[in-house]
């Protein structure tokens, strides 16, 4: 056996894991060095999260060995892995919704006085950790369930920091963060690297990997298909390694801007709600993809929910095809005459019924179309479902398996597919590509453009500026619940997006965010 000095900090060899008929991992290897950031890449369902869960003690491998400091280890549960210094930020997060931020940050090892938890000390620790992770704006006593997803991710990062890990795993831990937040997190991660931690970083944002990783490992179909030093391969090479086939453009070409004639498919006049939406007016024509930009939490989510009939006592008007309509629930909004669809923010709680089958989830929004007199037409249903699975290349072991067993990205595809099945005319998207691999993202962009060409009007919120730049014909940048600026055509640049997101003049923006340029824009 190697002496401890020459052994890598952590190594996995020949790890395999099956779920029923699905081989999530086959003979996978991974070596983690102290003082390195190791990027892990792979398309959706490649087995990345499964590998991380094995490292973190959540899942037990069917075969394979793991060594820590050269000594064989096996973790029966997350507590054991934590004890060995391995801390994981899971893709699905592991925050307890009813507990406060501080409680969550110190959840497994709170400071104690006389055997009881010392609330003050805990709060201090939480405040410090939040500050380090870039979440100063989060109140340590706020319950997690009141925080938006992006703040939760920051809390999760803060929680990992206080555990003083030797190995820190981040499984798409920044997927809901905007560029500004990501910057802060990155500086923390780089500092941790200097302190000698080993970091595993999973992301579908190629630019993030490029900036952070010292070396990368690519997984495909549960196998390790290559480990290399960062910078030795181009993004296109990496993506082709991931998806195993050739890969070209990310974004489809945009059509030439058209003259604003005729009634828009969607028109919003002076929409206000509860001090969170302030007098918003916008239009989206058939064939147009209208982006929503701005920092996270500036009212984008609320705007989409308001359009979809979820919010109460909104003021202002919503017109579809020039006709005023009064939407009081999603059911109203999805009716044929309106034809709206909303891809919600959080797939786990808002998009999917995780224990139900792929089939049930896919047809849930279209049951009205697929049924007569309340009876579901099974044949039509099967046909529509098979079509969608093909269209979005959803990786699943049949349509009867629970959606919860699919990988994160494939779950996200189910959410999109479920709404596309309704043949919507107005599509509202809340960060729909979060957690989706580069190859699939490109397919989704194509698909959106195709839907637009076929006459849909699309309202597209994304935390990723490159998507807004690459996909949208116009972008409305929201600030504090109101439309700050409207950018169209060539005006849509990173610089303009950032400056209007911060509500400052374009000239004042430095180059601080330029390293994020091209994030997601592989090739």
């Amino acid at each position: 056996m190697d002496g401890p000095s020459s052994a890598p900090l952590f190594r996995m060899e020949g790890v395999s894991k099956r779920y029923g008929g699905v081989k999530a991992l086959t003979n996978a290897d991974l070596t983690v060095e102290a003082g390195h950031i190791h990027g892990v890449l792979g398309e959706n369902g490649a087995g990345k999260s499964t590998l991380m869960k094995i490292m973190a003690g959540v899942v037990q491998p069917d075969e394979g060995r793991m060594t820590l400091d050269g000594n064989p280890v096996a973790f029966g549960n997350p507590a054991a892995a934590n004890a060995a210094g391995i801390v994981c930020i899971f893709q699905e997060l592991s925050l307890v919704p009813e507990l406060s931020v501080a409680d969550n940050i110190c959840i497994s090892n709170p400071p104690k006085r006389f055997g009881l938890i010392d609330q003050r000390a805990q709060r201090r620790i939480a405040e410090e950790a939040l500050a380090r992770a870039g979440g100063e704006d989060i109140h340590p006593l706020a319950p997690i369930k009141d925080l938006p997803l992006s703040r939760r991710q920051l809390v999760e990062i803060a929680k990992a920091l206080v555990r003083k890990p030797r190995i820190l795993i981040l499984d798409e831990a920044t997927s809901a963060l905007t560029a500004a937040d990501v910057r802060k997190v990155f500086s923390v991660l780089k500092r941790l690297r200097q302190e000698g931690l080993a970091l595993l970083y999973i992301s579908h944002r190629m630019a993030e990997i490029a900036e952070l990783a010292d070396e990368c490992t690519v997984f495909r179909n549960g196998r390790n298909v290559g480990t290399f030093k960062s910078g030795t391969k181009s993004d296109t090479e990496i993506v082709e390694l991931m998806i195993g086939r050739e890969y070209s453009h990310v974004f489809p070409p945009k059509p030439a801007p058209q003259a604003a004639t005729g009634t828009p498919a969607l028109e919003v006049r002076n929409l206000s709600w509860n001090n969170r939406l302030k007098d918003i007016s916008l239009t989206a024509r058939a064939g147009e993809i209208v982006g929503l930009g701005g920092l996270d939490g500036q009212g984008q989510r609320e705007l989409l929910l308001a359009l979809f009939g979820v919010l109460r006592s909104t003021t202002g008007e919503i017109l579809i095809d020039g006709k005023k309509c009064n939407l009081n629930c999603p059911n109203d909004a999805k009716q044929g005459s309106i034809g709206m669809a909303l891809i919600p923010e959080d797939r786990k709680t808002e998009g999917l019924m995780l224990p139900m089958s792929v089939r049930d989830n896919l047809s849930m929004a279209s049951l009205g179309r697929l049924s007569k007199g309340g009876l579901v037409d099974r044949a039509a249903e099967t046909k529509a479902i098979d079509e969608m699975i093909g269209l979005l290349a959803i990786k699943t072991d049949g349509t009867a398996v629970p959606v919860g067993t699919l990988s994160g990205g494939n779950q996200q595809k189910i959410v999109i597919a479920k709404w596309l099945m309704t043949k919507p005319k107005v599509i509202l998207l809340n960060d729909p590509t979060r957690g989706i691999d580069v190859g699939t993202k490109a397919e989704i962009y194509q698909l959106l453009r195709k839907l637009a060409d076929q006459g849909a009007a699309i309202l597209y919120y994304s935390t990723d500026y490159d998507e807004l730049i690459g996909c949208c014909d116009r972008v409305l940048v929201l600030y504090d619940g109101a439309v700050g600026r409207v950018l169209s055509g060539d005006e849509i640049t990173e610089r303009a997006l950032v400056s209007s997101a911060l509500n400052i003049g374009a000239g004042q923006v430095g180059t601080g965010t330029s390293s994020m340029a091209g994030a997601g824009a592989a090739g």
Binding site: S363, M364, T399
Partner: protein, 323 residues
């Protein structure tokens, strides 16, 4: 994890839990037969099915409610409402006598809908709102009995429905059960409404955002549960030829136990009707066998508890990993 809606061959669709539950039924019968061969006589078995069908009506409604992730604790007095109002209708002349059962069911439906309003629109936890409705229903029935001395005798045709054997020598309530069961299975598997029930039970937010009118579904399901409980009450009134105070008391816990013994998750979203059928038969048989065995009540209760735990350990165990 078996999903009732999955497209799988019929056999694979059978939940192993449900199969085991039926296995337990056979075991129970064999055990009974060892002590007294009459436990296997057609007379006895048909009697169990007949008596079980009253519980089955209640358990059917309870199952739908449990699939939503809710619970209905108002069944005891809604049963009584059903029994007392249907017999009371008989006193309103020939018109009332003809529509006695529908009138009883209607009253149950009304109480059920109030449950639904409380749970779906006022968002009060069902476990407590239905408890309150139970108390209110009791209040009404005490008031009626004390204040108006309603007619409480069942009609001949109600008696026939509950005890007669019109077709193939099989007791009529068993046919009723088969009919209600068939409708329920159809409802759950084939209709949009059924899908909505499972969806809401799994995650109401996601169901709502999918454009399901979740509140109406919840309202309707509680309505159905109330109506079925009242129908059970009307059948019971026919069986006993009369309605009386407290006639629903012995049905609450057994109906919950039957549904859960049948493999339905109390958290909602998962369960099959066949399982509930097995659960009802199991509970009815167990109660009956314990009833005729000559052992003191204390030991009966002990055995009842132990057998249920043993059966659940056999097949009702949850997944190792909680969702």
């Amino acid at each position: 994890m078996t999903n009732p809606l999955a497209t799988l061959p019929v056999l694979r669709r059978l939940d192993p839990a449900v199969l085991t539950a039926f296995g337990c039924i056979v075991l129970l019968l064999l055990f009974g037969a060892m002590r007294n061969p009459n436990f296997l006589s057609p007379d006895y078995l048909l009697l169990q099915l007949q008596v079980g069908s009253f519980l089955a009506m209640v358990a059917t409604g309870m199952m739908l409610v449990i699939l939503l992730g809710q619970i209905d604790l108002s069944v005891p007095w809604i049963i009584t409402v059903g029994g007392m109002m249907s017999t009371a209708a008989v006193g309103w002349g020939p018109w009332g006598a003809t529509f006695a059962i529908p009138i009883g069911v209607l009253c149950g439906l009304v109480f059920g809908l109030v449950n639904g309003i409380g749970v779906a629109y006022l968002r009060v936890p069902s476990m407590i709102f239905t408890l309150g409705i139970n108390a209110v229903a009791q209040g009404f029935m005490v008031l009626r009995t004390g204040g108006f001395a309603p007619q409480d005798m069942a009609t001949e045709s109600m008696h026939d429905l509950a005890t007669g054997r019109l077709i193939l020598g099989i007791p009529n309530p068993v046919w009723v059960w088969i009919a209600v069961g068939a409708v329920t299975v159809f409802l759950l598997r084939r209709t949009v409404f059924g899908r909505a029930i499972y969806a809401i039970g799994n995650r109401e937010t996601a169901a709502y955002l999918s454009g399901i009118r979740t509140q109406r579904v919840v309202l309707a399901v509680f309505g159905i549960s109330g109506a079925l409980a009242a129908f059970a009450g009307a059948l019971l009134a026919g069986y006993s030829t009369k309605a009386y105070q407290g006639m629903g008391d012995p049905y609450l816990l057994p109906s919950i136990a039957a549904v859960v013994l049948g493999g339905t998750s109390i958290l909602g979203g998962r369960g099959t009707y066949l399982g509930t059928v097995a659960g009802v038969i199991l509970i009815t048989l167990l109660q009956s066998i314990l009833s005729v065995e000559q052992i003191p009540e204390a030991y009966r209760q002990l055995i009842f508890g132990a057998v249920i735990v043993a059966m659940l350990l056999l097949y009702g165990r949850g997944a190792k990993v909680a969702a």
